[in-house]
Protein backbone atom coordinates (compact mmCIF):
# COMPACT_ATOMS: atom_id res chain seq x y z
CA UNK A 1 0.00 0.00 0.00
CA UNK A 2 2.45 2.53 1.03
CA UNK A 3 5.27 0.86 -0.79
CA UNK A 4 5.93 3.47 -3.33
CA UNK A 5 9.16 2.08 -4.58
CA UNK A 6 10.72 2.62 -7.94
CA UNK A 7 8.49 1.47 -10.78
CA UNK A 8 9.60 -1.89 -12.05
CA UNK A 9 8.19 -1.50 -15.49
CA UNK A 10 7.76 1.33 -17.89
CA UNK A 11 4.21 2.04 -18.80
CA UNK A 12 3.60 4.31 -21.77
CA UNK A 13 2.21 7.70 -20.91
CA UNK A 14 -1.39 8.57 -21.56
CA UNK A 15 -0.20 11.01 -24.18
CA UNK A 16 1.39 8.21 -26.05
CA UNK A 17 -1.64 6.01 -25.74
CA UNK A 18 -3.86 8.74 -27.06
CA UNK A 19 -1.58 9.40 -29.97
CA UNK A 20 -1.66 5.74 -30.79
CA UNK A 21 -5.42 5.58 -30.83
CA UNK A 22 -5.81 8.80 -32.76
CA UNK A 23 -3.34 7.63 -35.40
CA UNK A 24 -5.25 4.42 -35.81
CA UNK A 25 -8.32 6.43 -36.68
CA UNK A 26 -6.50 9.27 -38.37
CA UNK A 27 -8.77 9.60 -41.35
CA UNK A 28 -11.86 9.86 -39.22
CA UNK A 29 -10.71 13.17 -37.83
CA UNK A 30 -12.68 16.18 -38.83
CA UNK A 31 -11.03 18.80 -36.69
CA UNK A 32 -8.21 19.16 -34.25
CA UNK A 33 -9.98 21.61 -32.03
CA UNK A 34 -9.33 25.21 -31.19
CA UNK A 35 -5.87 24.89 -30.00
CA UNK A 36 -3.58 22.03 -29.72
CA UNK A 37 0.12 21.95 -29.72
CA UNK A 38 1.50 20.93 -33.04
CA UNK A 39 3.96 18.53 -31.49
CA UNK A 40 1.13 16.67 -29.92
CA UNK A 41 -0.73 15.94 -33.09
CA UNK A 42 2.19 15.74 -35.44
CA UNK A 43 2.46 11.97 -35.32
CA UNK A 44 -1.24 11.77 -35.99
CA UNK A 45 -1.13 14.13 -38.92
CA UNK A 46 1.76 12.25 -40.43
CA UNK A 47 -0.47 9.29 -40.90
CA UNK A 48 -3.34 11.25 -42.35
CA UNK A 49 -4.25 11.01 -45.98
CA UNK A 50 -3.89 14.17 -48.05
CA UNK A 51 -7.65 14.61 -48.10
CA UNK A 52 -7.89 14.47 -44.33
CA UNK A 53 -5.03 16.87 -44.00
CA UNK A 54 -6.79 19.32 -46.23
CA UNK A 55 -9.98 18.94 -44.25
CA UNK A 56 -8.21 19.52 -40.96
CA UNK A 57 -6.48 22.56 -42.32
CA UNK A 58 -9.77 23.98 -43.42
CA UNK A 59 -11.34 23.35 -40.02
CA UNK A 60 -8.39 24.49 -37.97
CA UNK A 61 -6.35 26.93 -40.01
CA UNK A 62 -3.91 27.57 -37.22
CA UNK A 63 -2.06 24.39 -38.01
CA UNK A 64 -1.30 25.51 -41.50
CA UNK A 65 2.03 27.12 -40.79
CA UNK A 66 3.25 23.83 -39.55
CA UNK A 67 2.02 21.60 -42.34
CA UNK A 68 4.36 22.26 -45.29
CA UNK A 69 6.63 19.52 -44.16
CA UNK A 70 3.68 17.18 -44.17
CA UNK A 71 2.73 18.12 -47.69
CA UNK A 72 6.28 17.69 -48.77
CA UNK A 73 6.23 14.18 -47.40
CA UNK A 74 3.06 13.45 -49.34
CA UNK A 75 4.55 14.76 -52.55
CA UNK A 76 7.63 12.66 -52.20
CA UNK A 77 5.74 9.59 -51.23
CA UNK A 78 3.06 9.65 -53.88
CA UNK A 79 4.66 11.35 -56.87
CA UNK A 80 8.39 10.87 -56.53
CA UNK A 81 9.15 10.77 -60.26
CA UNK A 82 6.85 13.56 -61.29
CA UNK A 83 8.42 15.68 -58.59
CA UNK A 84 11.87 15.20 -60.01
CA UNK A 85 10.49 15.94 -63.47
CA UNK A 86 8.64 19.14 -62.88
CA UNK A 87 10.22 20.74 -59.88
CA UNK A 88 13.90 21.28 -59.63
CA UNK A 89 15.86 22.16 -56.55
CA UNK A 90 14.15 25.40 -55.75
CA UNK A 91 11.90 25.18 -52.77
CA UNK A 92 8.30 25.72 -53.82
CA UNK A 93 6.25 28.19 -51.91
CA UNK A 94 3.48 25.93 -50.99
CA UNK A 95 3.99 22.24 -50.97
CA UNK A 96 0.29 21.84 -50.78
CA UNK A 97 -0.12 23.48 -54.18
CA UNK A 98 2.65 21.36 -55.58
CA UNK A 99 0.92 18.28 -54.37
CA UNK A 100 -2.36 19.05 -56.05
CA UNK A 101 -0.73 20.09 -59.26
CA UNK A 102 1.13 16.84 -59.41
CA UNK A 103 -2.07 15.02 -58.77
CA UNK A 104 -3.74 16.67 -61.73
CA UNK A 105 -0.82 15.91 -63.99
CA UNK A 106 -0.92 12.32 -62.99
CA UNK A 107 -4.63 12.07 -63.64
CA UNK A 108 -4.19 13.53 -67.10
CA UNK A 109 -1.42 11.11 -67.92
CA UNK A 110 -3.47 8.17 -66.80
CA UNK A 111 -6.36 9.32 -68.89
CA UNK A 112 -4.14 9.51 -71.96
CA UNK A 113 -2.67 6.12 -71.44
CA UNK A 114 -6.06 4.64 -70.72
CA UNK A 115 -7.58 5.98 -73.89
CA UNK A 116 -4.63 4.76 -75.91
CA UNK A 117 -4.99 1.29 -74.54
CA UNK A 118 -8.69 1.38 -75.15
CA UNK A 119 -8.16 2.34 -78.78
CA UNK A 120 -5.67 -0.40 -79.29
CA UNK A 121 -8.02 -2.89 -77.83
CA UNK A 122 -10.85 -1.75 -80.05
CA UNK A 123 -8.65 -1.96 -83.11
CA UNK A 124 -7.56 -5.44 -82.22
CA UNK A 125 -11.13 -6.45 -81.81
CA UNK A 126 -11.99 -4.98 -85.19
CA UNK A 127 -9.27 -6.95 -86.83
CA UNK A 128 -10.37 -10.07 -85.10
CA UNK A 129 -13.92 -9.56 -86.18
CA UNK A 130 -12.86 -9.31 -89.79
CA UNK A 131 -11.25 -12.67 -89.63
CA UNK A 132 -14.22 -14.39 -88.14
CA UNK A 133 -16.36 -16.84 -90.01
CA UNK A 134 -19.20 -14.99 -91.63
CA UNK A 135 -22.38 -16.52 -92.91
CA UNK A 136 -23.03 -15.60 -96.48
CA UNK A 137 -24.89 -16.80 -99.55
CA UNK A 138 -22.18 -16.20 -102.06
CA UNK A 139 -19.63 -18.76 -103.02
CA UNK A 140 -16.02 -17.90 -102.52
CA UNK A 141 -14.01 -17.55 -105.73
CA UNK A 142 -12.69 -20.82 -107.06
CA UNK A 143 -9.04 -21.13 -106.28
CA UNK A 144 -7.70 -23.20 -109.12
CA UNK A 145 -9.70 -22.92 -112.22
CA UNK A 146 -7.05 -24.24 -114.49
CA UNK A 147 -6.70 -27.87 -113.72
CA UNK A 148 -9.64 -30.13 -114.27
CA UNK A 149 -10.32 -32.34 -111.37
CA UNK A 150 -11.31 -35.98 -111.84
CA UNK A 151 -14.99 -36.23 -112.24
CA UNK A 152 -15.22 -38.87 -109.62
CA UNK A 153 -13.24 -38.97 -106.45
CA UNK A 154 -10.54 -41.55 -106.37
CA UNK A 155 -11.45 -44.80 -104.85
CA UNK A 156 -9.26 -46.34 -102.27
CA UNK A 157 -7.96 -48.81 -104.72
CA UNK A 158 -7.04 -46.15 -107.17
CA UNK A 159 -5.20 -44.31 -104.50
CA UNK A 160 -3.35 -47.42 -103.53
CA UNK A 161 -2.32 -47.97 -107.12
CA UNK A 162 -1.03 -44.51 -107.58
CA UNK A 163 0.86 -44.67 -104.33
CA UNK A 164 2.31 -47.97 -105.28
CA UNK A 165 3.39 -46.64 -108.64
CA UNK A 166 5.14 -43.78 -106.97
CA UNK A 167 6.81 -46.08 -104.53
CA UNK A 168 7.86 -48.40 -107.24
CA UNK A 169 9.56 -45.68 -109.13
CA UNK A 170 11.37 -44.42 -106.13
CA UNK A 171 12.37 -47.66 -104.51
CA UNK A 172 13.12 -49.76 -107.47
CA UNK A 173 15.41 -47.53 -109.36
CA UNK A 174 17.73 -48.82 -111.98
CA UNK A 175 20.42 -49.70 -109.48
CA UNK A 176 18.40 -51.92 -107.28
CA UNK A 177 17.36 -54.24 -109.94
CA UNK A 178 19.87 -56.95 -110.66
CA UNK A 179 21.00 -57.19 -114.21
CA UNK A 180 19.27 -59.62 -116.38
CA UNK A 181 21.36 -62.65 -117.19
CA UNK A 182 22.21 -61.94 -120.77
CA UNK A 183 21.96 -65.39 -122.22
CA UNK A 184 18.44 -65.99 -121.38
CA UNK A 185 16.10 -65.36 -124.12
CA UNK A 186 12.51 -64.90 -123.91
CA UNK A 187 9.82 -64.85 -126.36
CA UNK A 188 6.45 -63.41 -126.29
CA UNK A 189 3.86 -66.02 -126.23
CA UNK A 190 0.73 -65.42 -128.04
CA UNK A 191 -1.54 -64.29 -125.44
CA UNK A 192 -4.51 -66.13 -126.60
CA UNK A 193 -2.71 -69.44 -126.15
CA UNK A 194 -1.63 -68.87 -122.64
CA UNK A 195 -3.72 -70.65 -120.14
CA UNK A 196 -5.37 -68.39 -117.85
CA UNK A 197 -5.12 -69.21 -114.20
CA UNK A 198 -8.08 -68.60 -112.04
CA UNK A 199 -8.07 -65.07 -110.94
CA UNK A 200 -8.28 -64.33 -107.27
CA UNK A 201 -10.01 -61.12 -107.95
CA UNK A 202 -10.89 -59.69 -111.20
CA UNK A 203 -10.27 -56.05 -111.29
CA UNK A 204 -10.54 -54.04 -114.40
CA UNK A 205 -7.26 -52.28 -113.82
CA UNK A 206 -4.84 -54.87 -112.65
CA UNK A 207 -5.04 -58.53 -113.33
CA UNK A 208 -2.78 -61.38 -112.52
CA UNK A 209 -1.88 -64.10 -114.81
CA UNK A 210 0.84 -66.58 -115.40
CA UNK A 211 2.83 -66.52 -118.54
CA UNK A 212 4.19 -69.73 -119.72
CA UNK A 213 7.81 -69.78 -120.48
CA UNK A 214 8.99 -70.97 -123.75
CA UNK A 215 10.44 -74.45 -123.19
CA UNK A 216 12.03 -75.21 -126.50
CA UNK A 217 14.69 -73.55 -128.48
CA UNK A 218 12.38 -73.13 -131.35
CA UNK A 219 10.96 -70.22 -129.60
CA UNK A 220 14.29 -68.72 -129.10
CA UNK A 221 14.14 -66.05 -131.78
CA UNK A 222 14.37 -63.06 -129.71
CA UNK A 223 11.90 -60.43 -129.74
CA UNK A 224 13.57 -57.19 -130.31
CA UNK A 225 11.13 -55.59 -128.07
CA UNK A 226 12.71 -57.11 -125.09
CA UNK A 227 16.16 -55.71 -124.91
CA UNK A 228 18.23 -56.91 -122.03
CA UNK A 229 18.47 -53.50 -120.63
CA UNK A 230 14.86 -52.95 -120.52
CA UNK A 231 14.05 -56.34 -119.33
CA UNK A 232 16.51 -55.93 -116.57
CA UNK A 233 14.57 -53.00 -115.61
CA UNK A 234 11.42 -54.93 -115.57
CA UNK A 235 12.76 -58.04 -114.06
CA UNK A 236 11.89 -57.09 -110.64
CA UNK A 237 8.96 -55.11 -111.48
CA UNK A 238 6.12 -57.01 -110.13
CA UNK A 239 6.27 -60.67 -110.70
CA UNK A 240 2.65 -60.67 -111.15
CA UNK A 241 1.75 -60.96 -114.73
CA UNK A 242 -1.14 -59.68 -116.47
CA UNK A 243 -4.07 -60.97 -118.19
CA UNK A 244 -3.44 -60.39 -121.80
CA UNK A 245 -6.92 -59.25 -122.53
CA UNK A 246 -7.71 -55.73 -121.65
CA UNK A 247 -10.36 -55.21 -119.15
CA UNK A 248 -13.79 -55.02 -120.54
CA UNK A 249 -14.90 -52.19 -118.35
CA UNK A 250 -12.38 -49.46 -118.54
CA UNK A 251 -12.75 -46.61 -116.20
CA UNK A 252 -13.31 -43.33 -117.87
CA UNK A 253 -10.28 -41.50 -116.76
CA UNK A 254 -8.12 -44.41 -115.99
CA UNK A 255 -6.24 -44.52 -119.18
CA UNK A 256 -5.43 -40.94 -119.18
CA UNK A 257 -4.32 -40.59 -115.62
CA UNK A 258 -2.54 -43.72 -114.70
CA UNK A 259 -0.24 -45.89 -116.70
CA UNK A 260 -2.31 -48.47 -118.41
CA UNK A 261 -2.02 -51.87 -116.94
CA UNK A 262 0.76 -53.11 -119.03
CA UNK A 263 2.00 -56.56 -119.18
CA UNK A 264 5.23 -57.70 -118.03
CA UNK A 265 7.96 -58.07 -120.51
CA UNK A 266 9.28 -61.55 -121.12
CA UNK A 267 10.68 -62.30 -117.69
CA UNK A 268 7.59 -64.06 -116.54
CA UNK A 269 7.73 -65.20 -113.01
CA UNK A 270 9.32 -64.23 -109.89
CA UNK A 271 11.20 -67.47 -109.67
CA UNK A 272 12.96 -67.06 -112.91
CA UNK A 273 13.68 -63.50 -113.38
CA UNK A 274 15.78 -62.78 -110.40
CA UNK A 275 17.93 -64.20 -107.69
CA UNK A 276 15.95 -66.36 -105.40
CA UNK A 277 16.88 -64.42 -102.35
CA UNK A 278 15.30 -61.23 -103.47
CA UNK A 279 12.13 -60.38 -101.80
CA UNK A 280 9.26 -60.24 -104.09
CA UNK A 281 7.64 -57.09 -103.00
CA UNK A 282 6.09 -56.27 -106.24
CA UNK A 283 4.04 -59.35 -106.21
CA UNK A 284 2.25 -58.16 -103.22
CA UNK A 285 1.25 -55.00 -104.86
CA UNK A 286 -0.77 -54.65 -107.94
CA UNK A 287 1.82 -52.69 -109.67
CA UNK A 288 0.95 -51.08 -112.90
CA UNK A 289 3.62 -51.79 -115.35
CA UNK A 290 5.51 -49.35 -117.30
CA UNK A 291 3.49 -48.30 -120.17
CA UNK A 292 6.35 -48.65 -122.53
CA UNK A 293 6.57 -52.32 -121.89
CA UNK A 294 3.00 -53.04 -122.09
CA UNK A 295 2.22 -55.95 -124.29
CA UNK A 296 -1.35 -55.31 -124.62
CA UNK A 297 -2.50 -55.80 -128.14
CA UNK A 298 -3.59 -52.31 -128.68
CA UNK A 299 -0.35 -50.98 -127.48
CA UNK A 300 1.86 -53.63 -128.87
CA UNK A 301 2.47 -51.75 -132.02
CA UNK A 302 3.64 -48.71 -130.27
CA UNK A 303 5.83 -50.55 -127.86
CA UNK A 304 7.75 -52.11 -130.59
CA UNK A 305 8.74 -48.79 -131.69
CA UNK A 306 10.43 -48.14 -128.44
CA UNK A 307 14.12 -47.97 -129.05
CA UNK A 308 15.59 -51.25 -128.30
CA UNK A 309 19.09 -51.71 -127.18
Amino acid sequence: MSCDGEPTRKIPSLVQYCQRVATAHADALSSVGDEIRYELIKPVLTFCSPETLLRLETASPYIEPDTPELWKCHCERVYPMALGLHYTDKEPESWREVFFELRELEAKRLEEVGSRIRNQRLQAEERKREREIKITDKLPPAKRGRWSMPSQPKTLFQKTRSDAARMQKSVYGPRMIPAMPPYKSYAVISTSLAPKPPLPSSNPRVTVTAVRRPATASLSPLKPTSPPKKSSKDADQGCSTYLPTPSPTPKPSSDSDLPAPSQMSPPPDSDFGRSPGKKDLMSTLFMPKHRAHSQRPMQSVSTRKVPAR
Binding site: D4, T8, S13, L14, C18, R37
Partner: protein
Protein backbone atom coordinates in the same frame (compact mmCIF):
# COMPACT_ATOMS: atom_id res chain seq x y z
CA UNK B 1 4.03 26.90 8.92
CA UNK B 2 4.72 23.53 7.55
CA UNK B 3 4.00 21.82 10.77
CA UNK B 4 1.08 23.95 11.86
CA UNK B 5 -1.41 22.72 9.45
CA UNK B 6 -3.02 19.59 10.67
CA UNK B 7 -5.04 17.15 8.76
CA UNK B 8 -8.58 16.93 9.83
CA UNK B 9 -8.76 13.20 9.33
CA UNK B 10 -6.67 10.68 11.17
CA UNK B 11 -5.50 8.66 8.24
CA UNK B 12 -2.05 9.21 6.92
CA UNK B 13 -1.77 11.70 4.14
CA UNK B 14 -0.94 9.03 1.70
CA UNK B 15 -4.06 7.10 2.43
CA UNK B 16 -6.71 9.65 1.94
CA UNK B 17 -8.94 10.35 -0.93
CA UNK B 18 -8.82 13.19 -3.35
CA UNK B 19 -11.77 14.69 -5.13
CA UNK B 20 -11.62 15.54 -8.75
CA UNK B 21 -14.48 17.37 -10.39
CA UNK B 22 -15.20 17.96 -14.05
CA UNK B 23 -16.61 20.88 -15.96
CA UNK B 24 -20.04 19.29 -16.39
CA UNK B 25 -20.50 18.41 -12.75
CA UNK B 26 -19.08 14.97 -12.39
CA UNK B 27 -16.91 14.09 -9.41
CA UNK B 28 -14.46 11.34 -8.93
CA UNK B 29 -12.73 10.25 -5.78
CA UNK B 30 -9.34 8.71 -6.10
CA UNK B 31 -6.68 7.76 -3.67
CA UNK B 32 -4.03 10.36 -3.22
CA UNK B 33 -1.41 7.95 -4.35
CA UNK B 34 -3.24 7.46 -7.57
CA UNK B 35 -3.68 11.18 -8.09
CA UNK B 36 -0.01 11.66 -7.61
CA UNK B 37 0.57 9.79 -10.86
CA UNK B 38 -0.19 13.06 -12.55
CA UNK B 39 2.62 15.50 -12.31
CA UNK B 40 0.33 18.49 -12.30
CA UNK B 41 -1.93 17.10 -9.65
CA UNK B 42 1.04 16.15 -7.56
CA UNK B 43 2.10 19.74 -7.48
CA UNK B 44 -1.39 20.97 -6.89
CA UNK B 45 -2.09 18.67 -4.02
CA UNK B 46 1.26 19.00 -2.42
CA UNK B 47 0.59 19.47 1.25
CA UNK B 48 3.56 21.66 1.59
CA UNK B 49 2.13 24.22 -0.73
CA UNK B 50 -0.61 26.60 0.02
CA UNK B 51 -2.67 25.87 -2.96
CA UNK B 52 -6.35 25.80 -2.53
CA UNK B 53 -6.39 22.34 -3.95
CA UNK B 54 -3.95 21.06 -1.44
CA UNK B 55 -5.87 22.46 1.44
CA UNK B 56 -9.19 21.13 0.27
CA UNK B 57 -7.94 17.95 -1.29
CA UNK B 58 -9.90 18.83 -4.34
CA UNK B 59 -8.97 19.47 -7.91
CA UNK B 60 -11.44 21.14 -10.17
CA UNK B 61 -10.90 20.31 -13.80
CA UNK B 62 -13.08 23.08 -15.09
CA UNK B 63 -12.14 22.71 -18.72
CA UNK B 64 -12.51 19.01 -19.09
CA UNK B 65 -15.60 16.98 -19.75
CA UNK B 66 -16.67 14.28 -17.37
CA UNK B 67 -15.98 11.53 -19.84
CA UNK B 68 -12.46 12.73 -20.28
CA UNK B 69 -11.87 13.12 -16.56
CA UNK B 70 -13.13 9.64 -16.02
CA UNK B 71 -10.62 8.25 -18.48
CA UNK B 72 -7.92 10.27 -16.85
CA UNK B 73 -8.66 8.77 -13.47
CA UNK B 74 -8.88 5.35 -14.99
CA UNK B 75 -5.45 5.70 -16.47
CA UNK B 76 -3.98 6.96 -13.26
CA UNK B 77 -5.35 3.97 -11.41
CA UNK B 78 -4.07 1.63 -14.12
CA UNK B 79 -0.64 3.07 -13.93
CA UNK B 80 -0.47 3.09 -10.15
CA UNK B 81 -1.52 -0.51 -10.02
CA UNK B 82 0.69 -2.02 -12.67
CA UNK B 83 3.79 -0.02 -12.14
CA UNK B 84 4.92 -2.37 -9.44
CA UNK B 85 4.30 -5.50 -11.43
CA UNK B 86 7.50 -7.08 -12.66
CA UNK B 87 8.00 -6.92 -16.38
CA UNK B 88 7.61 -10.62 -17.00
CA UNK B 89 3.94 -10.66 -16.21
CA UNK B 90 1.34 -9.71 -18.75
CA UNK B 91 -0.81 -6.72 -18.10
CA UNK B 92 -3.78 -5.52 -20.10
CA UNK B 93 -3.18 -2.95 -22.74
CA UNK B 94 -4.71 0.41 -22.07
CA UNK B 95 -5.16 1.16 -25.75
CA UNK B 96 -8.36 -0.77 -25.81
CA UNK B 97 -9.82 1.34 -23.11
CA UNK B 98 -9.64 4.55 -25.06
CA UNK B 99 -12.61 5.14 -27.37
CA UNK B 100 -11.56 7.03 -30.51
CA UNK B 101 -14.12 9.75 -29.91
CA UNK B 102 -12.40 11.03 -26.80
CA UNK B 103 -8.88 10.30 -27.94
CA UNK B 104 -8.10 13.83 -29.05
CA UNK B 105 -9.56 15.51 -26.00
CA UNK B 106 -7.91 13.03 -23.76
CA UNK B 107 -4.67 13.77 -25.54
CA UNK B 108 -4.99 17.44 -24.77
CA UNK B 109 -5.91 16.79 -21.16
CA UNK B 110 -3.21 14.22 -20.68
CA UNK B 111 -0.71 16.66 -21.98
CA UNK B 112 -1.92 19.37 -19.63
CA UNK B 113 -1.90 17.20 -16.56
CA UNK B 114 1.39 15.59 -17.43
CA UNK B 115 0.05 12.15 -17.22
Amino acid sequence: MTGDVEMTDDSTPKDDWVLITSADGFSFMVKRKVAMTSGTLKNMLNTESNFKEAVSNTCEMSETRGAVVEKLCEYMAYKAQYEQVPPKEDIPDFTERIPPEVALELLVAADYYEV
